[in-house]
Structure formats: structure tokens, C-alpha cells
């Protein structure tokens, strides 16, 4: 990684990782062993032909590398930046046994950025099939499906309830990790293939369910946007945000630039973020950029933090203080937040995932109070219930996800689902991968009908 110095980057929303220069990328590509049975490809949820694209980089055939990459991944500039490569391709790289794995993610990003700067080859679009497909949601699942479906010659309409496309890529992940012009660029590619984007359209409300079901096929990619709250005392005090609200205010509404932009956000001087995933890290790092002293409260140990290791390190480097083995029990104040009372957690026996089960310690002395004026809860999100709850006969799982088979098929024959709404909160690459499978099923179904 080529990181900007922490005390420099913590004052702005410019990208933290500046990417590999061309020479470095080529040298990095030359480290690839081109294994005959590449483990990295198995580690990749969408099975990119990794040795082939890296070998093209090593030969400085960047255009070829882009072509290979895009056969399997429509959003390489995004995935190269936000995928947890350490657990996927890079985690399986044979070179990691001898030291450092090939930096596959950085190479993916390099190629995607190179292509963006040097002109993108637009993929061919099949002749029109006359079939109408509705895609609900413009997150990674929706965009990926729309691109596959448009390419197959269907007439695709993407409905998005917000005023901007991109889903979490736009409102959730901050610009210093994923610059917004890149997201826009990727979406424009899909629109260039003829897909139509309808913003401000809430499917289920602006587009009633019966109208939706009249499309020849429907893909639901409405995501896991429902924020969970802890359910503790003081949670509705002024100054308690869900991570979604805090990040939306800043990323989508630009509250960091208030009053130039109209949407306000509380600028806490001391902020507690609750949670340990990517969402928590993003919230903490945004709060740092708004000038706060930030504590991150996590119930297990630092080594158990579920966020990407690099992002944890970035947060620490940027001055986020980790308060581990602790859990909030009460938010103090009224009407504004004045503190958060926590209990220390005991690390007990390991659970199925190999992490210790945290249990609160007994006794007065195990409680402590952090003096903060703002709390951000980043303890998870559930499937967006708005639309799925309105479609009769659509089978849902116990946690509100839409039940699908391996091909993204739901309990309604021409309705498909992909991304977080089907899997529960997961990752960009899983959303993409499942959307590709669902699009393939849709293409098969529509071809069969002809």
C-alpha cells in the first residue's frame, strides 16, 4: 500500500491509499509464480483469472489485463479498493508461505485505474431481445446485474430510492477509501450500455408491486440498509447516531461541508463508536476527520476485530483509540449525550468461529464511563424490509433475507434476488458474484421463453 501520512490524511477526505505507480505494479506482477493450480483463483468469490491478468501486467499489456479482469469482475476499481483480499485471493497466495503474498488487490486497482485513464473499451451489447427487466436498487448487486442483463440485450430499468446511485458504495463507504467519482464512473459504464436509471423511485411505493411484477423479470438488490440499535438506555438522546445516519449525512449529504451544503451533522468533540467491523472503522475515521477524539468500543479483543486488518491499522494510525473487551450498557445525558457507561467483558470459551464469547464481568469495578458527547452505533444492519415485506408469496428467511437458490431464484418464478438482501450484510464482491449468477438465471429463463 502507498499510504498518505496519517497526520496529513486525517484532515481531509482524499483517498488514503494512492495506489501503485506503473513500475512498481509491473515489478509486483513479476513476483507471481503463475502456479499451474492457482490457489488465488479459488480464493476469489468470482474466480477472476488472476494469474492471467497479472501475467499481462508483467508483460506491460495493460489493455489485455483489463479485458481478462473484466470478464469476471465488472467493478474492478471498486473491488481493488474495498475487497478483503487478505482473506480471499491474497490470503490463498502461495507466496504468503514464503513471506509476502502478491498484492493482487493493488494490481487489480492499478489496472482498473489505468483503464479509466486510458479509455474504457465498452463491451458489445447483444441485439435487443425486447424483454423488460426491472432491477431494484443500484448498489453493487443492482449495478452488476444491470450490466449483465443490458449486455444480453434486455431493456433494463434500475430503480433507486435515493437521489444518487451506488447504494453503500455511495452513502456508506467514505470517499477516503472509495472516491465517489470512481463509483459514478462505473455506474456510467452500465448506463452507457443502455440501462435506464430511475432515481427517487421507491419500489413498492412509487412503483407498486403489481406494476413491478409485470416486468418479464425482476432482480431485487435492495441491500441490508436497516440499522440495528443496541436497545440500551439513553439511545434516543440527541447525539446518538446509527452508523448509517452518520455516514449518510457525511458521504451522501456532505454534512462535513456544512453550511456550504445544507445538511448538518453534530460535530462531537469526543466520540464513541460502538462496533468492530468495517462500518465501525469507517465511522470512527470519518469522526476523526470531523475533528473529534474517537474511541472505538468493541466487546472482544483487538485481534478479534472483524474489520479488515489494514483498515484497523489505518484507524489506529489516524488516532482512533481502541477500547476493547468492553460493551456499552447505558448512554448518559439529556437531552444531549454526556457519556457512555460500559462494562468490561470477560473472554470466555471459543465459539464456532474460533472467537471467544464475551460475557460482562460482575461487580461495580467492572463498569467505567467514557466522557463523550456523541455515540455512533455500528453494530450491524439487517435486510431492507420495505419492498420484500410488500410482495405477497415472497419467501423470506428468519432474519428477513429473501430466500434464494444457488441461481438467485426466489419463491416467485420470475423474481430473483442478489446481494445483501439475499445473503444478509456481506461484501461488495459477494453482492457482485450473486448478482452475476442471478443475471445468468434471468438470461436463461428469458431465452427459454422465446
Amino acid at each position: 500500500m502507498n499510504l498518505r501520512p496519517a497526520d496529513d490524511r486525517v484532515h481531509d477526505f482524499e483517498e488514503v491509499d494512492t495506489g501503485l505507480p506503473e513500475q512498481t505494479a509491473v515489478l509486483e506482477a513479476l513476483r507471481c509464480m503463475e502456479c499451474p493450480r492457482p490457489m488465488c483463483v479459488q480464493g476469489c468469490p468470482v474466480s477472476i483469472d488472476i494469474p492471467a491478468f497479472i501475467s499481462a501486467i508483467a508483460q506491460e499489456q495493460f489493455r489485455d489485463a483489463a479485458r481478462i479482469l473484466k470478464q469476471d469482475n465488472m467493478l474492478p476499481a471498486i473491488c481493488g479498493r474495498v475487497c478483503p483480499q487478505e482473506n480471499q485471493c491474497q490470503g490463498s497466495c502461495i507466496m504468503s508461505k514464503k513471506g509476502k503474498p502478491v498484492r493482487i488487490g493493488a494490481l487489480e486497482r492499478f489496472i482498473a485505474d489505468w483503464e479509466r485513464e486510458n479509455g474504457v473499451e465498452s463491451p458489445g451489447v447483444a441485439p435487443s431481445t425486447g424483454k423488460q427487466v426491472a432491477v431494484v436498487g443500484s448498489g453493487p448487486a443492482g449495478i452488476t446485474a444491470a450490466s449483465e442483463l443490458a449486455r444480453a440485450g434486455h431493456s433494463v430499468t434500475i430503480f433507486e430510492s435515493l437521489h444518487k446511485a451506488g447504494g453503500v458504495l455511495t452513502y456508506g463507504i467514505p470517499a477516503f477509501r472509495l472516491p465517489k467519482d470512481i463509483v459514478e464512473f462505473e455506474i456510467d459504464q452500465v448506463l452507457a450500455m443502455g440501462a435506464v436509471l430511475r432515481l427517487n423511485h421507491i419500489v413498492g411505493r412509487s412503483v407498486p408491486v403489481d406494476e413491478l411484477l409485470r416486468y418479464d423479470a425482476v432482480l431485487i438488490g435492495t441491500g441490508a440498509g436497516l440499522p440495528y440499535f443496541m436497545g440500551i438506555e439513553g439511545e434516543n438522546l440527541n447525539g446518538v447516531y446509527s452508523a448509517n445516519e452518520f455516514l449518510t449525512r457525511v458521504n451522501l449529504m456532505h454534512a462535513d461541508q456544512f453550511p456550504e451544503y445544507d445538511t448538518p451533522v453534530i460535530r462531537g468533540s469526543r466520540v464513541a463508536v460502538v462496533g468492530g467491523g468495517n462500518v465501525a472503522m469507517d465511522s470512527a475515521r470519518v469522526a476523526r476527520r470531523l475533528g473529534a477524539k474517537v474511541y472505538l468500543i468493541y466487546r472482544r479483543r483487538e485481534e478479534d476485530l472483524p474489520a479488515r486488518a489494514d483498515e484497523v491499522q489505518n484507524a489506529i494510525d489516524e488516532g482512533v483509540e481502541m477500547v476493547c473487551c468492553s460493551n456499552p450498557v447505558r448512554i448518559l445525558g439529556g437531552p444531549e449525550v454526556r457519556g457512555v457507561e460500559c462494562v468490561r467483558m470477560d473472554m470466555c470459551e471459543l465459539d464456532a468461529s474460533g472467537r471467544p464469547i464475551p460475557r460482562p464481568l460482575e461487580g461495580e469495578e467492572s463498569h467505567f464511563t467514557l466522557d463523550v458527547d456523541m455515540v455512533i452505533e455500528a453494530i450491524g444492519q439487517g435486510p431492507n424490509p420495505l419492498l420484500s415485506g410488500l410482495i405477497p408469496d415472497l419467501e423470506r428467511g428468519p432474519k428477513g433475507t429473501i430466500v434464494v437458490d444457488d441461481g438467485g431464484r426466489t419463491s416467485i418464478p420470475h423474481v430473483f434476488a442478489a446481494g445483501d438482501i439475499a445473503t444478509g450484510a456481506a461484501t461488495v464482491i459477494w453482492a457482485m458474484g450473486s448478482a452475476k449468477k442471478a443475471a445468468r438465471s434471468i438470461n436463461q429463463m428469458l431465452a427459454g421463453e422465446e
Partner: protein, 279 residues
């Protein structure tokens, strides 16, 4: 971009806009709202759908802060960047029998669409509207037409009944001539007025107005406590059982950003004065 088909000032500081929104109007029902954003730097603000005509929706709003003041400065033929909707769960319209729909201040704007829907469902509808004084009353003629009966109240007695809608409601409750009640207005007015039906246990709905961002259930900014449970007003409401609402929490949460709101409005006034943009 969405065009303002018609803009009118209908009372002191209160404006009525018809906005072309073909994706909102055909499916809009009583009790639902839109979220609008004026321009690329604007805030998303919720406004109730007050009437529908073909592809157009009507909003009626009071200029209270930066966004509503800026909106009021727009006129017929101007455009706004975004309008999303219809949002929220529609009012529980069914044959209740005798309904009272009560509006306070700009909340009166929500009543016409509701009164008509209730009448269409077979109810007898009494409208009760209240404002501080005669110059702040809105939509009186329209409501006279939409309701079977309309009672007008002013705090200062400048027209109609000298007093509050709550006084009229108490009378209806005492006479046992009301089966369901809607109250829409400022939180404090809804809180006080809904006390009139509490003891008699008459179903009473209020439309809650917490601060919203997306309006689609994604952020939790709009959370309110109803019957001891946290609910999101934008997707679980905005209408709730009046007798279960934690009013004090709602009113506190409406005041999260007083300083920013003041600053934003002052800045807008300064800017418009300097540029002479203001009409």
C-alpha cells in the same frame, strides 16, 4: 428535475406548490409524504402530500428555516432537483363511522386528501381546523367541501370559534359522536389535543414529524418511541396511535440542530440580500 407547475402564497409565510411528479402522484394516498431536495447542495426534507391531481402532487409548507425559505423563493415554472415518494404507510382508511380530522397551523394541509378518502370509505367527516389568527388559516373552502362539517377555531377569536380544536374535540367526545380521530399539527398541539380522546379510548392517529434524512428506513434519524418501542416514523409511520407516543422525546429530538439551523438560515438571508435573488 421536477417542475413546479404552480406556486402560491396562501397565508402569512405559508405556501402551496403543485409539483410535477409522475412517479409519485398516481400512487399517493392519504397520510403519505414526499422527500424533496431543492438542489445539489440541499437537504432532504419531508413534506406531506396534501392533494393529488393527475401527475402533480401538492405540498403546503411553512417557511421556517433555510430549506423551506429557499423553497418559498421559488415560483411557478422553476424546478427542484429531487422529489421521492410516496413514502410512509397510508392512513388507516376504512369505514369507522364518524371521524374527526383535526389540523393545527400548517398541519391543516394534510387534511383534504384524508377527509376525501375517509368520506369515500363511507364515513361522516367533521373537520376541525385551528390557527393563531384568521390570517394563518388555510384551505378553509376546500375543507368545507371535503368534510361534512367544518369547525374553524382561532386562538384570538379573529374568526370562528374562539379557542382550540381540543375544546371542540372534547365536546364531540362528551356527546359520543366520534369513532376515530386524526390530529395533525405541531407536536405540542397533537400531544395536548389527543388527551381529549384518551379516556374514552377512541382510536386517535397523529402524524409524527421527527427529523428525517432518507425517509426510507435506512438511517434511524426519525426514530420515535411508541408504546415503549423504537419505531422509524418514515417507514413504520408517520401516523401512530396518539396515546402511545413519547411526546417529550419527539420534541427533544426535533431540536438536535438549533445552532446549525440558525446559521444556515442567516447565511441564506445574507446571500440572497447580496445577490438580490430574493423575489
Amino acid at each position: 428535475m421536477y417542475k413546479i407547475q404552480h406556486a402560491d402564497k396562501i397565508a402569512e409565510n405559508i405556501y402551496e406548490f403543485w409539483i410535477n411528479a409522475p412517479h409519485v402522484a398516481p400512487n399517493a394516498q392519504a397520510g403519505q409524504f414526499v422527500v424533496i431536495r431543492i438542489d445539489g447542495k440541499g437537504e432532504r426534507i419531508p413534506l406531506t402530500i396534501s392533494a393529488v391531481d393527475g401527475e402533480n402532487v401538492r405540498i403546503v409548507f411553512m417557511a421556517v428555516g433555510k430549506t423551506t425559505t429557499q423553497l418559498a423563493d421559488l415560483g411557478t415554472g422553476d424546478q427542484i432537483q429531487d422529489i421521492a415518494g410516496p413514502l410512509g404507510v397510508p392512513s388507516e382508511v376504512k369505514d369507522w363511522g364518524r371521524c374527526a380530522v383535526i389540523g393545527g397551523g400548517v398541519g391543516i394541509a394534510c387534511l383534504p386528501i384524508l377527509a376525501r378518502a375517509l368520506k369515500d370509505a363511507g364515513n361522516t367527516v367533521t373537520g376541525i381546523i385551528g390557527a393563531r389568527n384568521e390570517s394563518l388559516l388555510i384551505l378553509e373552502d376546500e375543507l368545507r367541501d371535503a368534510c361534512d362539517e367544518l369547525v374553524v377555531c382561532t386562538d384570538d377569536g379573529s374568526t370562528g370559534f374562539h379557542g382550540f380544536p381540543a375544546d371542540i374535540l372534547k365536546k364531540l367526545v362528551a356527546e359520543e359522536v366520534v369513532d376515530a380521530v386524526w390530529i395533525i399539527g405541531p407536536a405540542i398541539m397533537m400531544k395536548i389535543t389527543s388527551m381529549a380522546t384518551r379516556e374514552a379510548g377512541i382510536p386517535t392517529f397523529v402524524s409524527l414529524n421527527p427529523i428525517m434524512v432518507d425517509g426510507t428506513g435506512m438511517c434511524g434519524s426519525c426514530r420515535v418511541t411508541v408504546g415503549g418501542e423504537t419505531r422509524f416514523a418514515c417507514v413504520d409511520g408517520p401516523e401512530f396511535d396518539a396515546h402511545l407516543v413519547d411526546w417529550d422525546e419527539l420534541m427533544t429530538r426535533q431540536r438536535i440542530y438549533p445552532e446549525q439551523e440558525k446559521k444556515s438560515l442567516e447565511r441564506y438571508h445574507e446571500h440572497t440580500c447580496r445577490c438580490g435573488e430574493r423575489k
